[in-house]
Amino acid sequence: MPALTFKNVSKNFGDHSVIKAFNADIHDGEFLVLLGPSGCGKSTLLRMIAGLSDITSGDLRFDGQIANDWEPKRRGVAFVFQTYALYPHMTVRENIAFPLIMDAFRKWYHLPVVNIIARHRLMRRSDIAERTLKMARQLELEPLLDRRPASLSGGQRQRVALARALVRDPSLYLLDEPLSNLDAKLRTQMRSEISALHNKVGKTFVYVTHDQVEAMTMASRIIIMDKGVVQQVDTPDNVYDNPANTFVAKFIGSPPMNLIPASVRPSGLMLSGEIAVEHREALPSRREAMFGIRPEKLELKPVGEGRLPARVAVIERLGAETVIGCRFITGKDDAGELLIEQDLVFVRVSGNPKMQIGEACSLDYRSEDVLWFDVDTGQRLS
């Protein structure tokens, strides 16, 4: 039985439909990433799992039971917020212990003066104190236990948020873009830490991000969304090699897949309406299609050697490899009019070739590396 099931779940804010007919199964113990651009509804989905937002229609099931109306505490989930949402007026120790204390509170403990006394007593209770300490040690927070969140660095706050989530040993972990507020280096480090954590803990992780690198490196499965609609549900490898549509193709991979409008002629292929290409194998059976090829599958060759004549417009040197943006040489020469470069075709080349901006070159490819998409719907053609 899958840990979580979404059945035809939709969400409206007033008239505005944020999520449309979402269906998915989330398996026990997997690391599922909800990936998509801002506003696609991924955070809303996460909040619906947690019980922080309600579901307009459809069923959400926890282990088979319909859980639409369950209070957050009944669901037994842990939530790590993008902004960590640590309690600013409590120490790290108190932050981590808070869920445990809340679980230990009896109903009448919540009265105004009683709650202060109860909190102090419970903080000192042996089991709670021990668990807090153990958690802090596991995440290397022990020296920080008596500090307040304001005096911690971003990475440290991140770990406190994780500790607070972990301390209750929940069955489901929900993480809402936890790494977006960290700088690049820290992000890379925390990525591996979270992955390791998942391996250790073995519970189900649902992770929301807009960063495809995070998704690709951490996920066991990815659900890609756009504007409330699922685009593809698959493993990272499949999402990369077999994108379901142009949206996925462009979203995954950096630089994104090159998508060039093409027409199929009896004589061969016409790219961008102007370049005739010798290409006979594996052509789609329609007249118009989108020609898609990943930058690393394009080959950069000197002028005349490749099938596609081009001129270099942009060069990005990344050290171990170089990304070169080219413009096809079509015969029309209006490239100099615009101040910014658009609609470039990107090639990934290893090393550091000596190219200059404006230099002529040519590109080539293998037919089996080309992915074809429908021009109107963007769906992949097989």
């Binding site: 922080l52 309690y87 600013p88 809340m102 919540h110 209750r168």
Partner: protein
């Protein structure tokens, strides 16, 4: 040149604003013979301080201030308690009638006290609250509760909602979210709201003078006002008492002026 004018203007404003208080001090430090007979001395005569101290004994300022303190403190506690509940509801929830509630709270700032004076008087007679400090506190809170509510609501609005969501996920019920998470985070605003409510009770005159018959229950405002229109007023003692009465209000207002303005204007704008 412009600068000189500016300083002149500032000097003028300072004189206009400060003179009455200065005069209060000077009058307190004068002898009654000077005040009524020979002509008041313009400079404060500090040598009269011991005399003033003795004269203050004539006026039951101690008892009055004690009553004032009770009234003000009682009103503050009640206003803050109810005001934080209302503020939280307005800040975090959507519910039927929310607009109406906002309007009603706003209304309380428009209603003249004198308007409900009479019905409250009638009500207090019926419930035997007429001569009591408790009744007075209950009447005062009606006006300071909404102010406390708006000040606190403004502060609560600034607390990120995610912190509460985090607490809810951590199994914390809403009421405790308010008491354990939100309130500790808005302490400065609570202090400001407390000061506003406190001095609303401290300064209050109309209700106190109408509802309290017993001289022993009089707060300082009523006690001092009883000297108005008297012929043989021991003016220096009265002024001394008035200064003592004013001092806490002035001190505290100076301390939190910014917050009060923010709270009052926020409430009024939101309506």
């Amino acid at each position: 040149m412009l600068k000189v004018l500016r300083y002149l203007l500032i000097g003028l404003l300072v004189v206009l604003a400060g003179f009455p208080v200065y005069w209060m001090a000077t009058t307190a430090l004068s002898l009654n013979s000077e005040l009524y007979g020979t002509g008041q001395v313009i400079w404060p005569q500090l040598q009269n301080l011991p005399e003033l101290w003795r004269e203050l004994g004539q006026v039951p300022i101690g008892l009055w201030l004690f009553n004032t303190l009770l009234i003000a403190a009682g009103g503050t506690v009640l206003s803050l308690t109810l005001g934080s509940l209302a503020g939280y509801a307005l800040s975090r929830f959507r519910f039927h009638g929310k607009g109406l509630v906002g309007f009603l709270l706003f209304m309380t700032q428009v209603v003249p006290e004198a308007l409900i004076l009479v019905p409250l008087y009638a009500m207090f007679i019926t419930f035997g609250l007429l001569n009591s400090l408790i009744g007075l506190v209950l009447a005062n809170v009606g006006f300071s509760l909404p102010v406390a509510c708006f000040v606190l609501k403004g502060a609560m609005d600034a607390v990120p909602y995610e912190i509460e969501e985090s607490a809810i996920i951590d199994n914390c019920p809403r009421f405790s979210v308010l008491t354990m998470i939100i309130l500790p985070l808005i302490m400065p605003s609570i202090a400001a709201a407390a000061v506003v409510a406190f001095f609303a009770g401290w300064n209050e005159f109309l209700f106190a003078s109408t509802f309290l018959m017993d001289r022993g229950n009089w707060p300082a405002s009523v006690g001092l006002a009883s000297f108005v229109g008297q012929y043989e007023t021991p003016m220096s003692a009265v002024m001394g008492a008035a200064l003592v009465f004013s001092l806490p209000a002035v001190v505290f207002f100076l301390l939190i002026q910014r917050k009060i303005v923010a709270g009052l204007t926020a409430g009024a704008v939101k309506g």
